[in-house]
């Protein structure tokens, strides 16, 4: 029995065109193999997105048994839009995202430039820069909570105390707890610390992917080192930069663990839509939580979809 099937298989593999009539269409086995993923993604992603959106249109803002759930249109959305705390949370997220992207890009590119020519101990430096990524946000937050402690003066600990020790007292501040419009820049610090190494790795791979002859050719033509980077290397890294931007950008927009661990779920100064979502869910406000998550989804989609279209196009171009 096994022999026959092996034989069958071999025949089938050797002569794909004249298949036996009884066999199934060629696409079917492949389709069946991916079917589980299609179903799982369909149920757990797309069905739930729809379900979530439908919930956001209802008054399901309590777990009371007597609650009559009915559609209330976009009331939950208007409630959120009129909630100054929610609007403030989006401002926080914007500041966080901008600071996070700029920070990781600057450090990532800088480190990649430094390591790109293969200095001594490159491996060690690379690992050192990458290591923070191995730690989860929650675990890192334990240390950052202490570093970013808002106390100044005699009771200061963490970074503020460090500033005092080196005589930079005037730099002490309340970090993300300060009542400033841009306090979330401080919240971006731990995130930048964690992910700069990742961006470095992306750029380093990008640099290594460019053949050396291009530099040599440029040098022969008398280009300065700066010009080589500016006109030969960097233009070729724009896809890497774009990927890095998208990865960091969407991570930032979904940022929850770091903020939850540092400031809790009900924080105003450090609140972002994701932490508010948590607070809404935990108090059974499913309608509001649904509206909130739909808004987050749409915003992330606005950010990510152009990138997907772009990569698809360039892949097609490369393919043809």
């Amino acid at each position: 029995m096994p022999d026959t099937s092996v034989a069958d298989r071999e025949t089938a593999a050797a002569t794909p065109a004249p298949r036996p009539k009884r066999g199934m269409p060629t696409w079917l086995p492949g389709f069946l193999l991916v079917l589980p993923s299609i179903i799982l993604i369909g149920v757990f992603i797309y069905y739930l997105i729809v379900k979530n959106f439908l919930t956001s249109l209802t008054n399901r803002n309590s777990n009371n048994l007597n609650l009559k759930v009915h559609f209330i249109g976009f009331d939950n959305y208007t409630r959120l839009a009129n909630d100054s705390t929610y609007v403030h949370a989006w401002w926080n997220l914007l500041v966080l995202t901008v600071a996070f992207i700029i920070g990781t890009m600057v450090f990532g590119v800088l480190w990649a430039l430094l390591l790109e020519k293969g200095p001594k101990f490159e491996g060690i430096f690379r690992s050192v820069y990458l290591f923070p990524m191995a730690i989860s946000f929650i675990a890192a937050s334990v240390a950052w909570k202490w570093l970013l402690n808002p106390q100044t003066g005699p009771n200061a600990i963490g970074l503020n105390q460090l500033f005092q020790l080196v005589g930079l007292d005037s730099l002490q501040n309340a970090w993300f707890s300060s009542n400033s419009k841009f306090n979330m820049v401080a919240m971006a610090l731990p995130a930048v610390w964690q992910l700069s190494g990742y961006i470095m790795a992306l750029f380093l791979a990008g640099f290594r992917g460019i053949p050396d002859d291009q530099r040599e050719a440029a040098r022969m033509d008398g280009a300065s080192e700066f010009k080589i980077y500016r006109y030969v290397l960097f233009p070729q890294l724009s896809p890497v930069a774009l990927s890095a931007l998208i990865i960091i950008g969407h991570m930032s927009m979904k940022m929850f663990d770091l903020i939850y661990a540092l400031a809790g779920a009900t924080s105003y100064v450090a609140g972002v839509p994701a932490t508010m979502l948590w607070a809404q869910l935990s108090t059974y406000k499913y309608g509001l939580a649904g509206a909130n998550s739909t808004i987050i989804l749409v915003v992330v989609a606005i950010f990510v979809i152009p990138y997907l279209i772009y990569t698809r196009r360039s892949e097609k171009k490369a393919g043809s």
Partner: protein, 486 residues
Amino acid sequence: MRRTPLIAGLAAVSLMLAACGSDNTADSGGSSPTAAASDTAAARDTAAASDTAAASDTAAASDSAGASDTAGASDTAAAGGTEVSASKVGDGGAGGDVGVFTWWADGSEKLGLDALTKIFSEMYPNNKFVNLAVAGGAGSNAKAKLASDLQAGNPPDSFQGHAGAELTDYINAGQIEPINDVIDSLGGDKVFPKDLLDRLTVDGKIYSVPSNIHRANVVWVNNEVLTKAGIDPKKAPADIKAWIADMDKLKAAGIATPLSIGGTWTQVELFETVLISDLGAEGYTGLFDGSTKWDDPKVTTAVADYAKLLEYTNTAADGDDWPPATDMVIEGKAAYNVMGDWAVAEFTSKGKKDGVDYSYWAVPGQDGVYDFLADSFTLPKGAKNAAGTKDWLMTVGSKEGQTAFNLAKGSIPARTDISKDIFPPYQQWAMDEFKSATIVSSIAHGAAVSLGWNTAISSAISKFMATKDQAGLQTDLVSAASDNLG
């Protein structure tokens, strides 16, 4: 090759089934309460965790029902009245497994639970105690598991919860049953303070038996710091104004932060004690049933006093825990800290002597008011061994159970007929106060308000910390109340 599609097909079908199964849960919102639960947990865990005591489990077990079912032991129970210890002579219990769900998996909480379990097996030898404790996350893991079990209609025989309004969500969702019979057979208001029972009653029904009591409105004082500034540490100021005057003196004496605070929930706790002082016990309690309005001028005064107090505090991040704030008092960096009475364990662990190194009194302006929070045990709807649950609740509410549990955990019993002699000095003071004081419910620890309301108040307080906008805080509090009182 022939078999591959078959296997793939089978796999697809089974995955689909699996997917549908889990989909149901997700759909019914099972996952979200979890989230919710853990949240609260996070907020107050700290409290709970540290509390040695948060464990006031109300386990008032009135087994009279259980007892009568089984062995006609109901007589004993009924006759028991105040003499609950009589139940020990009972019938031995309903029999079967009693699964009790807690997050008391280590430390003094575990010791307390073990002590309670021992009493349970002595009182009801027929029952087998099954420990369903879930460790980790200071209760957040446990609450997540509990929420999904309840949603799936597979409740434990009893579970732990903060006594009071925080159970509202379970009550509204129809997940727990009234246990007035248990409370009655334990002795009702003969053994529990009437005030306490009033705070636990929802529409005439009581849903849980408190196992231990904590007090939230305690000021912890560093004696040395106050003596240096010429203030008597043993004597509480008469009211908030006098307290602020003392803080001015301390500032003049060079103490930069007379009052220490921690993260958001500790600020809520401070604010609620200011509310109690400025509104009085009755006015404060009225805030939660609508008889006191949140836009009352007295609330405005309280907000102003709270804002004033914040001028004397350290800066804290929203996510900070309470021990650093209490440690500031222990180390003499701050003079006062308003904290629940689990703080006493922090003083003890740092080797400080009650009365010598530190003192404590009720927050000024509320002498004779006991701002309580408690852990309690419930009877879930659909519990497999309801009679066994009632045995458990009887144990939790019994004299022996409460004594053993609270001695181990460091809190005080909810019963007032227990001799205080064997308790440490702080607990003795607290037990005296508890007997005579007016009891009000804590906002920060879920006794006064539901989870949703608590979250709204916490956000408002967190916002106020940043903006210092007094009118804005009151507006937020008013809208939180109108959202939650309906």
